[in-house]
Amino acid sequence: MNPGIGARKARTELNKSIILSLLFLLCIGLCVSRMKYEVVFLKNKLKEINIQLDKCQDDIKIYNAEWSFLNDPKRLQRLASKYLPHLRPTENRQIINFETLIRSDFDKEISKNITSLVERDVPLQGANRYASEAFGAFLDKAIKKHEGAMESD
């Protein structure tokens, strides 16, 4: 085989690989530059969003402060006495506890039964006893129910 032909072939292969490498580098360069611009764009966008977020947070703080200012007890009292003159603050006697609440519900229920007993000419002493026993049973039931609810919790 002619050595001249072999060397030329090898050189041709070398040239080919150089060109391919150059093309590859060109492609990578294009990709990197594209990516760089993309990153710069996103970075700017992030910066804008962060600025907007800060502004929103500052605005929220101002609104919260304004809301608290509007809810100042002194101001509310002044407005209430001006626009709601017929309303009065809640009094302690208007607040009852759970036991008293059961009792009042019971009273309604039992008064109906007692009325019916009286209507049926059952002596009042018997009605009282009935009321006392019934209230005890009612209270036990309510307490058991309450305890059951607590256990299930």
Partner: protein, 572 residues
Amino acid sequence: MTESFLKKFVYSVFKGFALWRKAGSHAAVIKALRSRIMFSGACCIIVFLVILYRLADVMIISRYGQIPPKIFSQEEIIQKADIVDRNGELLATSLITASCYADPSVVIDIEETANKLSKIQEMPSAEKIKQKLSDKNKHFVWIMRHVTPEIQEKVMDLGLPGIKFQKDYKRIYIHGNLFSHTIGYTDIDGTGICGLERQFSDELKQHGLSGKRLVTTLDLRLQSIVYEELSSAIKKYSAQGGNGILMKSNGELLAIVSLPDYNPNDLKHVNIENMFNRNTLGVFEQGSILKILNVAIALDSGYAQPGSIFDATEPIRIGRFKITDFKGKHRPLTLTEAFVYSSNIASAKMAQMFGAKIQQEYMRKLGMLGVPEVEIPERGHAIVPTYWNDTTCMTVSYGYGLASTPLQTLTAVTSIVNDGIRVHPTLIQRASQHNSMEERIVSRETSILVREMMRAVVCYGTGKKADIPGISIIGKTGTAYKLKGRGYGSDGNRQRITTFIGGFPKDKPQYMLLVSLDDPKATSETCGYATAGWNIAPTAHKIFERIIPILNDGTIQKESTLKIVKYLKLDK
């Protein structure tokens, strides 16, 4: 077609390379190439040298150039965390503002700049601005901190070179005076100066950007009620001042008011005396309310029983001093009567029984001899007698000779009525309180007896005017003369501090209140008296009347029977 084009392209590239290789064998061509390479290299070096010079110029030679330096980076601008009450109501917050600054090296005409700026309302005078701009070597001087948007717009409209704005934060106290002594205030840079602002300055700065908030135990509604009622009492009885503390039985402080006060948003017009926090810094002789501790010590140490008799017929004489009773009964009194009728003579005799050592030990355990435990830096140390002898022991029994802060007294009394378990006052809501380390001071039985006696004071004693129908209020009044130099003044010249300490409900106190008036005057309504039963007890009544509907969730027990009444010989 594409294939043939590619073939042609590759062929021409190869042909070009072949020609170059052929030419490379000639020496002349190589020489020409070398000179061209040398020329290109020289050009590159020149360009790099130019860039290098410019970099050095920007970074080293004219370092600050035309770019004003920033004194704060975005993160360095102080934005402190919010302070809120127990219901999340805002008490202190940082709001964004703008601060005006100048770069004197850029300002062209100082005279004109100063004159134009000073014409805007609230801006410093022309002279002051001129002085600030006079040093041309400076690159940063504040013109005005925290300007309003209107002023900012006006300044920007002037278009003055070298005058700029910086983002800034200003601390705002939404409710003005209401929490002034507790929350405190900051300086213009946001550094805490007093109150919670100072105590938690670093934490508030640290969490400024994270959105975390400092949650206090305070309640805006209750604070407002105590503040209002105390203010009106001060006005009504022409008092010099007053203070009030509302505490939960677990030590959480719901309201803490000290009057006179100040507006932390307007520190330019503050009277320095108004900054004094009477509750934690004010050290006073507490008067008869200390009898609660005296009775508790007597009962707990086993030296006395509710029915023990003490002769209060005659005053006690110690040298030139005389211990007397105000409106004394002049007869032997049971311990219960001595407490209900607030007998100084009987209290002194009670203290004589258990002695100075036991008294001192109990006072130490109750925290009356140190500083109040609370998370604000303004705390006063109790004034403790140097020599705690028998005479001191007797005077301390009815509230003289030992001076402590109102918060210490309330804490001690709350500890006694809280089944004898030590209470630790706090202003900060924490996940776990001190419950894991329960410290018993007096027995449960003693606690029950003291509560019964305190209820008797409200039913039959000096605290009658504090009672609320339907709720078993407990309490004790105290009137202490103010120390003036080395004495307490003459009869017509005496100044008093009247105090009511109490709580509800009797069987398990959940809320405790201490209210005081400094030097209240007698009025026609008080029948010429200026004692606690006539002025501070009605004030406590008004506070209870308004706070109970807020605090009562239906679980606060209504009236309960008073067993201790058998030891009382009631006046008709």
